[in-house]
Symmetry: C2
Subunit: 354 residues, 2 copies
């Protein structure tokens, strides 16, 4: 696995060049452009070795070499230099977060936008889920005759809401009483905790403390059902995309069929969710080509990182692009953005320390 110094430099040169141009790289070009002090012929020999070792591939006999997934992997693990972003670019990101929006969804949507804008790839962001955090408020707010809005708020300030049908003839005081009892019991629990057992408990409690039990219990059932739904929805639906069309500017997708495949993938939230959840818990994860489990992504790479609210990892942001991705740049952009996101969702004034 250990390559000698010259092979490393050549491999790096080839990958850098290919990332830049998307064209197979020839020996002559490398010799001329990067001065390694050797002739094209020597480089040819080395390239031949690198191919045999599996780091490079040849699209056809008389073309230059392109990196294999294994080559990218080596590059990412051992050769990658995280470019410092230009001051101008850092400033751009920082500005973006300067007047922060108050609404989490919006915040995230904007993050998706800047992430794709700065990288020129497609960004995907999975929003924080309500389910793993402690419930803070549960409110039942009647709207019109027979419906109400249920509002759930958790410890980090994430809000979920649903409409429900009210049991016939229930009175507002009763609703308040029910809400109060439920609040007592549910506060501090996570949605995941809200299971069968708790349901029974509450069921009983309501019977003890209220008249017109059947109405209360009907209401209770509704609320629990809502919570169930909410847990599911949160897992399945909250994904934001940015710059989906950036895919189209990559030469590897000039073929409309390939482009459609990828864009179709992006519209399948189920797949996306999977892709964004089954990954390493900490730091930045890079998946190259076939390292992705999803077949549709085997010639794409994805760089992901997780962000936190109040010390808990709650969501994931990712960048999706061709395997020929500018990993160095993406990593550094992601790093800075994750930091902002974490800060800003925590409600802090967002000024990243260097």
């Amino acid at each position: 696995m250990s390559l000698d110094e010259r092979k490393k430099r050549i491999l790096q040169a080839i990958i850098d060049s290919y990332i830049d141009s998307a064209e197979p790289v020839g020996s002559r070009f490398i010799a001329r452009r990067y001065d390694l002090g050797v002739s094209p012929a020597t480089i040819r020999n080395e390239m031949s070795d690198l191919e045999e070792l599996g780091y490079l591939e040849q699209p056809h006999t008389s073309a230059g070499r392109i990196p294999s997934d294994k080559g990218y992997r080596f590059y990412v693990d051992f050769l990658l230099e995280i470019h410092k972003l230009a001051a101008r670019e850092v400033a751009h990101i920082d500005d973006w977060y300067q007047n922060r929006a108050r609404e989490i969804d919006l915040q995230i949507q904007r993050t998706a936008k800047i992430l794709s804008q700065m990288t020129n790839y497609t960004s995907l962001i999975m929003g924080p889920t309500l389910s793993e955090q402690e419930l803070r408020y549960l409110q039942i707010l009647p709207i019109g005759e027979s419906t109400a809005v249920i509002v759930l708020v958790n410890e980090t300030g994430i809000v979920e809401h649903r409409n429900v049908d009210l049991p016939d003839g229930i009175r507002e005081e009763e609703l308040n009483a029910i809400a109060e009892i439920m609040n007592e019991r549910l506060r501090g629990k996570t949605l995941d905790d809200v299971k069968e057992a708790l349901f029974r408990e509450l069921h009983q409690e309501l019977s003890l403390r209220l008249d017109r039990i059947h109405l209360a219990q009907q209401m209770l059932e509704q609320v629990f059902q809502i919570m169930d739904e909410t847990v599911l929805d949160c897992q399945e639906e909250r994904i934001y995309l940015g710059g989906a069309t950036n895919i189209l500017s990559q030469p590897e997708f000039k073929d409309i069929e390939k482009a459609r495949l990828v864009l179709g993938l992006l519209e399948e939230e189920k797949t996306l969710r999977q892709v964004l959840t089954d990954l390493a818990p900490e730091g930045i994860t890079i998946r190259i080509g076939h390292e992705n489990t999803a077949v549709e992504m085997q010639n794409l790479s994805m760089v992901t990182a997780r962000y936190e609210i109040g010390g808990k990892l709650v969501g994931t942001i990712g960048v999706l692009g061709p395997t020929r991705m500018d990993y160095g740049r993406v990593v550094s952009v992601m790093d800075r953005i994750t930091r902002h996101l974490t800060n800003s969702l925590a409600g802090k004034k967002t000024r990243c320390e260097k």
Copy 2:
């Protein structure tokens, strides 16, 4: 402007055929496929007339004819037969709305999906805005030490929420008092009503009824600012897309550059918002090609309809496709879906009467 019967039939045949095949239509084909009882030569003469009248165009001398925008307009206005949807298709739509989701956002997202699925074009939906409807609840829910969530609920059950920083040292009872006073005053107002005058009024009222006025007033300012932001956000951000990639399956966008132009357009929410707002208030509106004000859309057509909640028009749904669009089908799908949407957002059990 009045065409004789035969010209109409020929025009219809040509447009039907072109919608179906995307290929320029020749006289021979028409004569053979639709039996008009005349020879190709006669049809050629008629086509020549229709071209002169501006209903048809010729891509080049020796190709068939294709409809012009004017041709489509005539087709839509006078020749369009709204196909009955197949029973199977109606059932599909109805099923989709059978187990309706409780959350409005989700509801709309799903509508976008089915709309694009049934038409094979791209759908866009503008969600209901909070701003034009009466406020029902305003709540201030403290989260942690120094932040709170403001929850706004309007008469139709739409919920908006934002995080705010709390003034230092404010107590929960005080927050409740403030919220109560504000509720008294704001209930029944629309967000648009919440202007300077009301602000002053409340400002005074708080001074009269509360101790520690400066805290209360600070809070008030925050809440008002939020409301302002909310009005803006609602206008600008709430657009949902479905089947954006369907554009790519249209032969007119096999050229990647054209495709990118359109998909880029779809990512510009500002433009989309504009497109969806500046249109006829009632019923179904069809914009063909150059009839669209946005330059990027001059070779696209858009079919839009508005839906209501509680008797008020609150949002718009639209289908975007090539000018060669199957208008008949789109119109009937949209019609049924709008009806469902209106019902289902109103919280009614959703069973469309035939």
